[in-house]
């Protein structure tokens, strides 16, 4: 699971999306994401999936990067919408005993799944094709609050380390015989109250460790001049030369995505 925290591990690849200026990329892809969210017409689903496929292919991100992240939300979404085809609508397209598959519900599920897949994939293209620091710096330039930007950077920096600490704690608990699985011998099973007590102690220890580390981090940041509302931990410029040289190409890309997003929106509305 720790590997999933590395959002920008393919940021050094060479593709058109990678060399797209981050600010243009954030604006363009965000517009596309919201135009996808507007889609309700089933005839637009192939267009949306096609655009998603083109963007992901151009980005040269590996398929495994997408698939590994789709597993969990796939199951979650499945749980959320499993009932819709059997409960929504009046036109029955298939029936077995009391189970009635309805056309309206099935189409709604198809639209929801397609929108989810396209928006999630475009999100990966947006955040997976540039170093995280660069993306946040661009978001800051586009108006993101300094406090939120600093919190994003610091949290991202420490998530992996805290996850490692947490894994070590879990390992230590296992070595001492703690397990959440049901034991074959009932005398080794502990009560729900005891489970909560143990897991709460682990969470509290994790919070304590993080708090103490945050005090050391703040002391180090103060030494480097951090301390008033005008300073930020984000460096003035982390956007590389390749991205600044492609300004005209980036603007052209932004223009193209704006046209696509607006067309999808008006196609849906009209």
């Amino acid at each position: 699971m720790a590997d999933k925290f590395a959002l920008d591990k393919y940021a050094d690849k060479d593709s058109l999306i990678h060399s797209w200026h981050p600010k243009c990329k954030i604006i363009g892809i965000s517009l596309l994401i919201f135009s996808f969210a507007f889609i309700q017409d089933i005839s637009l689903i192939p267009v949306m999936l096609g655009i998603t496929f083109i963007f992901y292919s151009i980005s040269k991100l590996p398929l495994s990067f997408l698939v590994s992240r789709l597993r969990y939300p796939g199951l979650f979404l499945l749980g959320m919408i499993i009932l819709l085809p059997f409960t929504r609508g009046e036109n029955i397209i298939w029936q077995w005993s009391f189970l009635k598959l309805r056309e309206e519900g099935t189409l709604l599920v198809l639209v929801i799944i397609s929108r989810f897949f396209s928006i999630f994939t475009m999100g990966l293209v947006m955040f997976g094709t540039a170093p995280f620091m660069t993306t946040i710096q661009s978001m800051r330039q586009l108006g993101l609050s300094r406090v939120i930007a600093d919190m994003l950077i610091l949290s991202y920096r420490y998530i992996y380390q805290i996850f490692v600490d947490f894994s070590q704690m879990q390992q230590a608990m296992k070595v001492r015989g703690y397990t959440t699985k049901k034991q074959s011998n009932p005398k080794y099973n502990i009560s729900l109250f005891r489970h909560i007590s143990v897991l709460a102690a682990v969470t509290a220890s994790l919070l304590l460790q993080s708090y103490e580390q945050s005090e050391r981090v703040y002391a180090a940041m103060r030494l480097r001049g951090y301390g008033d509302l005008t300073t930020s931990i984000i460096k003035p410029n982390t956007i590389d030369d390749k991205q600044t040289k492609n300004t005209s190409l980036s603007l052209l890309g932004l223009f193209g995505t704006v046209i696509i997003a607006v067309s999808l929106f008006f196609w849906q509305v009209i």
């Binding site: 949290s155 489970h195 509302l229």
Partner: protein, 216 residues
């Protein structure tokens, strides 16, 4: 307890962003009024990362296991930083794990963050009661209420939003019954999260009381 990308129509998602923008502005305004607003940023960031990791904890609840939301605990520990922290945590969950979504980030921040802010205010009222009763017992009761109410408000907001947006008028009666049924089915989670929050808060009160006091 997250709304996935694509589940709700875009106008609802955009409205969620607008209200979240206002809630974030309000939280940041309160943070900026503190004597040293930047001091809380590393603490809030590292605790956000810790909460992100701790949210993977599952408590065995036969025949299944329950996943904690921890927004009540966030409100108690982080105060006004809880809303930005939830926004950051949800952003990471959306882009790293696909839990929630980018287009629905605003809505998810609202249904989890607003209860956290409410709980922060509720927990701060304990100082008035502590004058007359045992401090540890009072903190424990308020921590339980914070954990349980955090989940209760989130459940009500979540199901209210999803079912009212996805539903239509002709199914209104059955939807009301469905909402009620789903809210009732979450009562064990509310109690569990209340007990869990109580344990964590009492532990922190003993080991590091500053964590519960300097929260804006």
């Amino acid at each position: 307890m997250h709304i996935s990308d694509g589940l709700l129509p875009a106008p609802v998602a955009i409205s969620g962003y607008a209200i979240t923008g206002f809630a974030t502005w309000y939280s940041l305004r309160q943070i900026n009024r503190q004597s040293e607003p930047t001091q809380g940023i590393p603490k809030a960031s590292l605790l956000t990362a810790a909460f992100f990791v701790a949210s993977s904890i599952h408590i065995p609840f036969p025949p299944t296991s329950l996943h904690l939301i921890l927004n009540g605990l966030l409100g108690v520990v982080l105060g006004y930083y809880a809303f930005p922290a939830i926004l950051v945590g949800l952003f990471f969950q959306a882009v790293m794990l696909g839990h929630g979504g980018i287009s629905t980030l605003g809505l998810n921040a609202l249904i989890i963050g607003i209860p956290a802010l409410f709980v922060h205010h509720l927990f701060s009222w304990r100082s008035f009661i502590e004058r007359y009763f045992n401090k540890r017992v009072t903190t424990g009761i308020f921590a339980f209420l914070a954990g349980a109410l955090g989940v209760a408000l989130t459940v009500i907001l979540f199901f209210g939003l999803v079912v009212s947006t996805l539903g239509t008028g002709e199914y209104a009666d059955s939807e009301s019954v469905a909402i009620l049924g789903l809210v009732i089915s979450h009562i064990p989670l509310m109690i569990l999260e209340g007990i869990f929050t109580t344990f964590v808060v009492l532990f922190l009160q003993q080991a590091k009381p500053q964590l519960l006091e300097n929260n804006g």
